[in-house]
């Protein structure tokens, strides 16, 4: 597949991975519009990769690595505009606001890396090994973070009942 030449190929990739890329971006930025920008930027950069080949390991993990890096970059750049993880109001898109708030509330007790790990596992459906490659840390660290995150979420879910 060579998405630098083929719009159709890029479209196919977009269709397959849009939700995963968005999930990764949202776990980092916690902002709907910024995450949307991340999605766009990710696929634009992907289009610039000359020899994109799944056989070489340029698969889902590769795309999500790009997405993660883009999200971190945009978050760094627009840090001041992001007040906190609670989105104030978008006016016209109430559903997106609701869903954004819901997800942020779900994940608010987790650290940054724990959020990313959980989203990569649950939403992007990566294996621990793939997550380790994306986040550039050992697999045991990923498992440990995930277990801890789940424990925290269980504990907090119990407190909220």
């Amino acid at each position: 597949m060579n998405c630098s030449d083929s719009k159709e190929a890029l479209c196919e990739l977009y269709t397959m991975f849009k939700s995963s890329v968005f999930a990764v971006a949202f776990s980092i930025t916690a902002d709907y519009h910024l995450s949307e920008d991340c999605v766009a930027e990710t696929f634009i950069r992907l289009a610039q990769v000359k020899h994109f080949s799944a056989a070489r390991g340029d698969g889902k993990g590769f795309i999500l690595t790009i997405a993660r890096n883009v999200a971190l970059e945009l978050r760094r750049r627009y840090k001041k505009e992001l007040s906190n993880f609670i989105i104030q109001s978008y006016g016209e898109a109430e559903k997106t606001v609701e869903d954004s708030i819901y997800i942020n509330q779900l994940l608010k007790h987790l650290s940054d890396k724990q959020r990313q790990t959980v989203v990569l596992r649950c939403c992007a459906e990566l294996s621990f090994k793939q997550i380790a490659k994306v986040m550039k840390c050992p697999e045991t660290t990923v498992k440990s973070r995930y277990r801890k995150a789940m424990a925290i979420l269980q504990e907090k879910a119990g407190e909220d009942r």
């Binding site: 890029l10 898109a93 997800i103 650290s111 649950c122």
Partner: protein
């Protein structure tokens, strides 16, 4: 937010995924992507009449080389290096900024924070004085790295790195006041050993280590009974529960040595700890470390396994002397007494409560006898499996199913019971002997027995001779004595007779004399009477005128 339905991890994962998919469904930016990724040919962006280079210089002025900027930086550097250091301000400023030991403390705390966030650790919380007193029960190889503190409310939190369910010897400890928080930490310590993530992964992947189930504790327990007996221990006299033991199994890293392979610096290490109460309080203890993979793999770890222990001001927090209630003494390597003190043992499991941060518990041991229950003794014990050694023979000559021991844990209602019938017997020696060695021992014992019998018969003969001689001598002595006595009696009798005779003779003489005198007197009296008679009967002559 109410998450009433999120009962399991899978529920949560499903919920998160669904919500995220719903949110991402409204994202539609492919047009934007394709516009940027595949711009249309002939697109003319020049209608703004600006080129990129022009956009950079809309003021029309030529862009000067940023000479001034670099000159300013260079001047600042010269000033900083050449001028400022000569003033007192420089020294004061940097002295107040940081010092090496303070920096080291902060790096340790920072390491603890990141390590415990990134990796799996077993966590134990306890008051500082409890760790000082009972460090052997919590981290047998690591004594408490903090000194006693007079202030109340001081606690210790210990972090032990885990590899799946196994413990390692990468340990951190912090001393804190009040509630646990980084701002309340006043001292921190770290171990010399650190495991890389790859090493942890290897341990987790390796097939389960077979721990040796050492019998060393049984041997040491027999030694303890012998010691208690020889020292006439008042504790042992009053208590049938002699000692307690437990195992502490970890993956141990010793940076100094390399075992089987040069690149392997860690190995499974089984530490057996046994302890018994002192009469005056506290415990004597000993521990034996073995490597299960190696035959006769006894291992002696360094005494000091902590790398550093620092207060917040960078000063050392290591105690000058240990405040532990446990005093080490040689129990495992002492020679066993072949004259077996029969022991029984009971295995109990001290389960922690739901709060998994507990490190040390306690146990009360009762004797249950029909309807009666009597407290025998109490021990401090770790959590997990503990073995108690009991001299139940001292109680009963025959076991009874109605008599048993009850173990009550941590002052709670949790308990376990075992009848005396159910106790396992600890026999004398557990060293593995070959059949040949056993036969040799038997022959040796036979020879000794035969020799002893021979010696006994010889001794009997000698004794008999001696008794005969003694008898003969006695007879002679008796005879001599009898003769002497007879002589003495004879002499006595002779002298006595002579005196009697003399006495009698004098008596007779006196009587004769008396008789003679009496006769003479009688004669005289008779004569006088006669005279008187005569005088009275003679005629009277006339008187002449």
């Amino acid at each position: 937010m109410k998450n009433n339905d999120l009962k399991t991890d899978q529920d949560f994962e499903r919920e998160l995924k669904n919500k995220m998919n719903e949110l991402s469904a409204s994202v539609d930016c492919f047009d934007r992507i394709s516009a940027r990724a595949f711009p249309e040919n002939g697109s003319d962006f020049s209608d703004s009449e600006f080129t990129v280079s022009d956009l950079e210089n809309v003021t029309g002025r030529s862009r000067s080389i940023p000479f001034l900027k670099w000159a300013a930086v260079a001047a600042a550097a010269v000033l900083f290096v050449g001028v400022i250091p000569k003033t007192a301000f420089f020294y004061n400023f940097f002295a107040n900024l940081s010092n090496d030991s303070d920096k080291l403390y902060r790096s340790v705390v920072s390491e603890i924070t990141s390590e415990t966030e990134e990796h799996e650790y077993a966590v134990y919380d306890m008051p500082l004085e409890e760790y000082i007193k009972n460090d052997v029960l919590i981290t047998p190889l690591y004594s408490c790295p903090f000194e006693e503190c007079e202030k109340t409310g001081m606690s210790v939190r210990i972090f032990i790195r885990k590899a799946d369910t196994s413990l390692t010897n990468q340990i951190y400890a912090v001393e804190y006041t009040g509630e646990y928080a980084e701002s309340n930490i006043i001292a921190a310590a770290k171990s010399k050993a650190t495991f890389t993530d790859e090493e942890i992964e290897d341990i987790e992947k390796s097939s389960g280590t077979i721990w040796r189930q050492s019998n060393d504790a049984d041997t040491a327990a027999l030694n303890i009974v012998r010691i208690q007996s020889s020292e006439d221990s008042s504790y042992a006299t009053e208590n049938i529960v002699s000692s307690a033991s437990f195992s502490y199994n970890i993956f141990f890293k010793d940076n100094k040595i390399s075992l089987s392979e040069p690149e392997t610096t860690y190995f499974p290490l089984e530490t057996t700890v046994i302890y018994y109460p002192k009469d005056e309080g506290g415990y004597f203890y000993d521990m034996s470390c073995t490597i299960p993979e190696k035959e006769e793999g006894y291992y002696e770890p360094d005494e000091r396994l902590w790398k550093t222990s620092l207060y917040y001001d960078g000063s050392s927090a290591f105690p000058e002397e240990s405040g532990s209630e446990f005093e080490r003494t040689e129990l495992f390597n002492a020679e066993t007494d072949e004259d077996v003190h029969m022991l029984n043992k009971a295995n109990v499991v001290n389960q922690p409560d739901d709060d998994e941060n507990q490190a040390v518990g306690s146990i009360d041991i009762f004797l249950n006898e029909y309807d009666r229950s009597e407290l025998l003794t109490s021990f401090d014990i770790p959590y997990g499996d503990v073995t108690f050694y009991i001299q139940s023979m001292r109680l009963y000559s025959s076991s009874s199913s109605d008599v048993g021991l009850k173990f009550k844990f941590n002052g709670s209602a949790k308990s376990s019971s075992i009848s005396l019938n159910g106790l396992e017997t600890v026999k004398g020696s557990y060293t593995a002997k070959s059949e040949e060695a056993i036969q040799k021992e038997i022959s040796q014992l036979e020879e000794e027995r035969r020799q002893a019998e021979e010696n006994a018969s010889k001794a009997a003969a000698v004794e008999e001779e001696a008794s005969k001689a003694a008898e003969a001598e006695k007879e002679l002595t008796d005879r001599a004595k009898a003769e002497e006595a007879a002589r003495a009696v004879e002499e006595y009798n002779s002298s006595e007779l002579a005196s009697i005779i003399a006495e009698e003779a004098s008596k007779v003489a006196a009587e004769e004399q008396a008789a003679q005198e009496a006769s003479a007197a009688a004669d005289e009296k008779e004569l006088s009477y006669i005279d008187e008679m005569l005088k009275s009967s003679a005629p009277t002559e006339p008187k002449t005128e």
